[in-house]
Amino acid sequence: MMKVILEVKERHKPNLPIEAECITPKNFLDPEREFHVWKGNKELDITDIFHVRKDGTAKSAEQVEITIRGDSSHIKRVGEYMDGGKILIEGDIGMHCGNFMSAGLIEINGNADSWLGREMHGGKILCHGDAMDYAGSGYRGEKQGMRGGLIEIMGDAGDFAGETMAGGEIIIHGNAGDMPGVDIKDGRLTIMGDCSRPCGNMSGGECRIFGTAYDMLPTFRNEGLTAIDSVQITRFSGDYMSRGLGTIYVANCKYMD
């Protein structure tokens, strides 16, 4: 096993974002590798931003565990293209954490900024706090968001969670914001709390809302009551402004009439 501890140093301009897509378990396998991060337009060595400690050895990414400590709320793109191993973030994490990841585990003890697990293919992201907008979504103009894997958010999610989702699973234990699952094509989105306007332009996949869906869109057809895990829930098909091939299960819903 190899344990890597990255502790964020005190910074003179703490709000300037740091782009650190080099932080993936696999990259630490190569002892010769240089790690560069970007602070705005300056390319820096990783040690300019983090105290780095490395213990043990590893033969594969699965044997590498990275811990990020300190104020990492402005560190972006951690775990981008990650394909195995584990990243533990003790505090909050910046935007685009786990972009395109295909395997492994990212665990965030604090909150995650927007675009958590953008276009992810596999693996798991567990966020103990809240996630901001666009968790598991696609990039701008992209047809497909998340395609596989699991994002579990113990707190609330912001707007557009699972936008253009095309596979995999998102579970939000708290509330979701506006338009979760908009343009969803496939995969499963579960919201334990409330949300508004779920799944506009849905063309496939499944969404389950155990709280209240506010401003429910009128273009979903009520298909009657059913039960999930002995919870009474209404099944809707839609979105009939397009072909209507998706399914939403909603415990309660309110329309804007």
Partner: protein
């Protein structure tokens, strides 16, 4: 007294090209054909006489040379400079801005991000079924204004291109051209419409979805009322749209900035797409600033992206919501800023204005504005359309040469930006 005809009004996205100016003793004294807001721009006062710099909290007059040096120093010192504005200047100056941003490794964004940015995001998802305003004027027999109020924001839009304009292919255009207005309140424009749809705030997406479902023959599932609009009216409007021979949907920030933002616009585009299975229908964003469309054109052809372009790492990265000026400022993610031809202090949220106040701020603008009060340096320039000339793009994407009416001692935006850019090259040894 000298009279100059066929001048371009540099105020709103209509870019009216039939303005007459009366000039006396090197000053514009009156305008003809112009609307009141355009007129106010031509007769504008408060022009700053020379560059000013804040030294120990007080404004000091400096020369252009000193101003250029100061601007270069402030911007080159930064780790993440932001270059914002651009929609109030001509395309040639915008080009220099993009080059400068590349040298600096900064973020360049234009005012699109606070008006029609969502429209562009939607267009990037599903395309743009657009046409020129000339087509609308001569062919359209149905006009929809959705979330916009041209009578107040684009005062000559209706007289030049829609309601009050003659149409080459239309008989008695004034009578036969129908106008639908969709808004959350009864605006001046709504009062002259044939059909006014009053929508509850945040209800645009649901109403567009319902219209689309009706077009697809799914009207049975639409409830009696959607976001304040009766089903009867929705059916009637869907029918008006389907049976017209050429429809044109114009939309404004009422749609782009309402809840759901770009997904509203995407829904509107797809509604227009659906209508094109029945008739001819087009869609045009009502662009606000006279050359904001040009800013999108210039940035798109030079960098691949129309606004919010981050060059920090030497290559263009675009992600509205992350690389847009409002977001960068609110999150304090920049450490110097240059504003060109825009007045963010008057429009931006408070947190953003505070960040602008706290970092080195260069303003390039002919007039003293709200932003002047929080700046560290302001360089006055000539006004495009009055004493400077250049290219601008009308809201329908038509490039128009904006002429100047007179000469002055002020440098144009292009001239001053080129001087700053050349100095940057010199300092960086490039």
């Amino acid at each position: 007294m000298q009279e100059i005809k066929d001048m371009i009004c540099p105020f709103c996205g209509c870019l009216c090209d039939d303005i007459t100016l009366e000039i006396e003793a090197g000053k514009i004294v009156s305008t003809d054909n112009c609307c009141t807001i355009g007129n106010a721009k031509f007769l504008g006062k408060n022009r700053l006489k020379n560059p000013i710099k804040k030294i120990d909290g007080t404004w000091t007059d400096i020369t252009y040379e000193e101003a250029v040096d100061t601007a270069v120093e402030m911007l080159l010192d930064a780790d993440r400079p932001l270059l914002f504005g651009w929609s109030g200047t001509h395309g040639e100056a915008q080009c220099v801005g993009v080059h400068m941003n590349e040298i600096l490794g900064g973020v360049i964004d234009n005012t699109t991000s606070v008006c029609h940015g969502p429209s562009i995001l939607a267009i990037q998802e599903v395309g743009h079924p657009g046409c020129t305003l000339g087509q609308v004027k001569n062919r359209a027999d149905l006009i929809i204004y959705w979330g916009c109020n041209p009578i107040e924001a684009h005062p000559r839009h209706m007289s030049r291109y829609t309601t009050y304009a003659d149409g080459y292919f239309l008989d008695n255009a004034f009578r036969n051209r129908k106008v639908i207005v969709v808004d959350v309140r009864e605006t001046e424009t709504a009062k002259v419409a044939d059909e006014f749809i009053r929508i509850k705030p945040g209800g645009d997406y649901a109403v567009l979805s319902s219209l689309r479902a009706i077009l697809r023959g799914k009207s049975d599932m639409i409830p009696d009322s959607v976001a304040g609009v009766s089903k009867t009216q929705l059916m009637q409007v869907a029918d008006m749209c389907k049976t017209c021979s050429f429809g044109a949907l114009f939309f404004g920030v009422g749609l782009t900035m309402a809840k759901g933002k770009y997904k509203n616009v995407r829904n509107a585009i797809e509604f227009v797409d659906d209508l094109n299975r029945h008739t001819k229908f087009t869609l045009t964003p009502m662009r606000g600033h006279w050359n904001v469309y040009g800013a999108n054109e210039v940035m798109a052809w030079m960098t691949g992206y129309p606004y919010a372009v981050d060059f920090c790492r030497g290559v263009a990265f675009y992600n509205p919501g992350e690389t847009t000026a409002i977001d960068i400022l609110a999150r304090k993610e920049c450490d110097a800023c240059m504003i060109v031809a825009s007045d963010p202090a008057a429009h931006f949220p408070r947190a953003c204005v505070e960040q602008l106040r706290d970092i080195p701020l260069v303003v390039i603008d002919p007039f003293e504005t709200m932003t002047t009060t929080i700046a560290d340096l302001q360089i006055p320039v000539a006004v495009t359309g009055i004493d400077a000339e250049g290219t601008a793009y009308r809201m329908d994407g038509i490039p128009i040469k904006v002429k100047k009416a007179m000469d002055s001692d002020y440098p144009s935006d292009t001239e001053i930006l080129t001087r700053i850019y050349n100095k940057m090259l010199e300092v960086k040894g490039l």
